[in-house]
Amino acid sequence: MNISMNELKAALRRCFEASGYFVGNYEDAANMVLWLEKHGLNGLGELKNTLPYVGEDLHKSLSNVIYEDSTSATIDAHGRSALNCIASAVDLAHAKALESGIATVTVHNCHNRMFVLKALTDRGRSGISAAAYWKNGSSPITEHAAAIKSGHRYPSYSEATIKTNEHSIDDKQALTIICSSRVDLSLSLQNQDSTMISPAQVERNKNDCVEHGITIADDIWQEINRIGAGVLVENTDRSRQDAGGT
């Protein structure tokens, strides 16, 4: 079916709110999914993989800083989804970059890292260059890089499949974020088989989505709304009076 961006955002907010995300985080999470989908980067596909586990973060520890100096930090996300923790990690990299010129924040034990792109893009808009790198999966293993220049509105994104023997078990579920207020960062994977989506293509994808809306599979739409129904209160005669009566 076809839905608008606003419909998707509102439904996602309810979905994440019902899943126990905090005020502020559920807006961020909804915007992260929408941003990917709006810019042609398969936000709903990523979300489909996320939905079966979306309520589990409620029972996990909050992210915490396990190492920090003036130009870097390491955060343990305790297996949380990037939807539910990555925005504050990018904020921290941003703040350190403003103080030091360039900063790196590494997030460990974080799922769904593709969603970092929205947070990176926000940095570009606010005058900070930002980049991220992560690996994903086990068979096959893929690597991903995204970057945006200071003052720009759209990032580049690259993806490639890598050989198994190049992969270290230590970097599973890790994400490296680099921010700089002085250097324009531009990541491109060295892998010759990588595919890259340029900022210009990202912009074209957005324009198409704004014009025509979003096509969504019925099963995902129903699942988002089923979870989101958790914030709705049962309708009763007394409840109807809470709306002012007839």
Binding site: N6, F22, V23, L98, G213, V233, A243
Partner: protein, 569 residues
């Protein structure tokens, strides 16, 4: 013509005009005392349509003798062509319901980009009458529905078909033939998002311009339809409605709690609207020259407001008392002004000392009315980017100081006092209708909407004080890594600190909170009149009463429908 930079310079900095203070203006009861003004969205829309001489006429007129069928208006605006499509269906009296939860209506309608062909009209026909139960595509950008006035609709037809004009007093009692019960835009039900409308449809790229246009068209259709039905009923005796009665007929509107969360969830936009209104007032106070002609105009407008309020009919005791007070206020203002005024500031000061909030804000609307040359250009600046971006580098200590300066109203609320957290806002599973409950409903409380901004600020501030004591040099980003639960409110505080007028200052969780103030505030920005509360949670009102008619487009235009009065017979 002014610029964004000039406006910013008027709001802040060394060259700023003397604006009313935030603590005065953003008080909820004052916001709920605002009235329509020449910056209201209906007024700005009508000015645009008439100044740009839009061509609007029916391109399809397929109504049967009873007025049921389909009508399509082609709208040739200044920049593009649009279609306004109306479906008129039979509805029995017992099915007629103004609540959001209704499922059938007398009229349903859509505003669509471009021209529509028969195939597309059929597609709309399959969906628009279903409203929330239907789906449309991104060519549509406003969807609405309306119900007939039980008191006026058939009465007017009966009279016209018998060759008589309706009694103007009966019209005055209600003021409309149809009442719209919802006007949807911004991507609801598959429609185009605001992002598209703003970027592509310049003609409607102001807040709620499309929605207001649909209401304006509904009003004009209602006049066309009653004349059509009356004529079909009795062609030999039928007479058309008198022009002045037509102009006096507006569109009814029922607004409930659904509008209230909008004001809380769009704080930057609301602040922007308030900024333009207050900037207009500051311009008048500072730049508005006063001479005898201006004083006569002031007296005439005050008298008009007085008559308008006297003509406002409501059964609601609370509103009746308010109206009585406004009438008294206006009489005082007239007497004071008769003695002669040489300064708007003096008149404002007088009103603040002697009038109710509603009387004071009525005077503001009157003052804006007198100086279109100082006010009207601000209508182009009601939009704003609604980006709630975090400033991660802001020192946590600075964040604390901002709360102390901009949110002192929230810190002054005793949230431990009885009743201070008694109310909660929730969404019903029935069409997700917003409702207002009591915390005694434990299950419902768990699902409450995050509208308690003041309380959230208080909780954030307490954590922040503790954090700043321990980490006096840390940034907001670092604070939020430690306290991620307050991310939403911190972002809001930082962003609203950049706005001249900030957040609405009220504890929306208080047991005595009056959502009516929220509804009234937004409706005043729309430009409605004749507030008629039906409970503390929903209100009837009238739109476009007194506005010029479609048939007037292209003729001389006088923007003179402020506070419309009953035509004299």
């Amino acid at each position: 013509m002014t610029t964004y930079a000039a406006i910013q310079n008027s709001l802040t900095g060394n060259n700023a005009l003397p604006l009313r203070p935030e603590n005065q203006v953003m008080d909820l009861e004052r916001l709920g005392s605002f009235h329509q003004s020449r910056l209201s969205f209906m007024r700005t829309l009508v000015r645009r349509v008439f100044k740009e001489r839009w061509k609007i006429s029916p391109s399809l007129f397929e109504l049967d003798n009873n007025g049921f069928g389909t009508v399509v208006y082609t709208v040739e605006a200044a920049n593009a062509t649009f279609s306004f499509v109306i479906f008129s269906d039979y509805l029995s009296d017992d099915e007629r319901n103004d609540r959001v939860i209704a499922t059938k209506w007398d009229l349903t309608m859509a505003l669509v980009e471009g021209n529509v062909d028969a195939q597309y009209i059929e597609k709309l026909r399959q969906n628009v009458p279903k409203q929330e139960a239907g789906r449309v595509d991104s060519r549509v950008f406003v969807l609405s529905r309306a119900n007939r006035s039980a008191r006026n609709f058939n009465y007017v037809i009966d009279n016209l078909s018998q060759g008589k004009q309706p009694d103007i007093n009966k019209i005055a009692n209600v003021g409309y033939l149809y009442r719209t019960t919802a006007v949807y835009g911004s991507g609801k039900l598959g429609m185009a998002d605001w992002e598209k409308v703003q970027a592509k449809h310049t003609d409607f790229a102001r807040p709620f311009a499309g929605e207001m246009f649909v209401c304006m068209m509904l009003r004009n259709f209602s006049l066309l339809q009653v004349e059509h039905i009356a004529k079909m009923r009795s062609p030999n005796t039928f007479i058309p409605l008198d022009y002045d009665i037509k102009r006096y007929i507006g569109i009814g509107n029922s607004t409930g709690l659904g509008m209230a969360p909008y004001l809380v969830n769009h704080p930057q936009l609301i602040s922007r609207w308030v900024e333009m209104r207050e900037l207009a007032l500051a311009r008048v106070r500072t730049l508005g020259a006063i001479d005898q002609r201006i004083i006569e105009q002031l007296l005439a407008l005050l008298a008009r407001c007085l008559a308008h309020t006297q003509e406002t009919i409501t059964e609601d005791e609370w509103q009746t008392k308010k109206n009585v007070k406004i009438i008294s206020d206006l009489q005082k203002l007239i007497a004071f002004s008769h003695a002669g005024i040489d300064s708007w500031n003096r008149l404002i000061t007088y009103s603040e000392q002697h009038c109710s909030l509603q009387g004071q804000e009525m005077l503001v609307s009157v003052m804006l009315e007198i100086y279109p040359e100082l006010v009207d250009e601000l209508e182009d600046f009601h939009c704003t980017d609604e980006l709630l971006d975090l400033d991660p580098l802001m020192p946590a200590n600075t964040l604390k100081q901002i709360i102390e300066q901009r949110y002192n109203w929230a810190l002054n609320i005793d949230f431990d006092a009885p009743g201070a957290k008694e109310t909660y806002w929730y969404r019903s599973e029935e069409k997700m209708e917003p409702r207002l409950g009591s915390v005694s409903d434990i299950e419902g409380k768990k699902k409450q909407m995050a509208l308690g901004v003041g309380y959230a600020v208080r909780k954030c501030y307490d954590q922040l004080c503790q954090y700043v004591n321990e980490h006096p040099t840390e940034t907001t980003a670092r604070f939020l890594v430690t306290f991620p639960k307050v991310r939403g409110i911190v972002r809001r505080i930082q962003c609203m600190n950049k706005c001249t007028y900030g957040d609405i200052q009220a504890n929306l969780l208080d047991q005595h909170v009056l959502p009516m103030h929220l509804l009234r505030c937004k409706l005043a920005f729309f430009g409605v009149s004749k507030f008629d509360p039906r409970s503390k949670l929903w209100v009837r009102n009238t739109m476009f009463q007194g506005a010029p008619l479609l048939e007037d487009i292209g003729n001389t235009f006088s923007d003179n429908w402020f506070m419309p009065l009953t035509p004299k017979r």
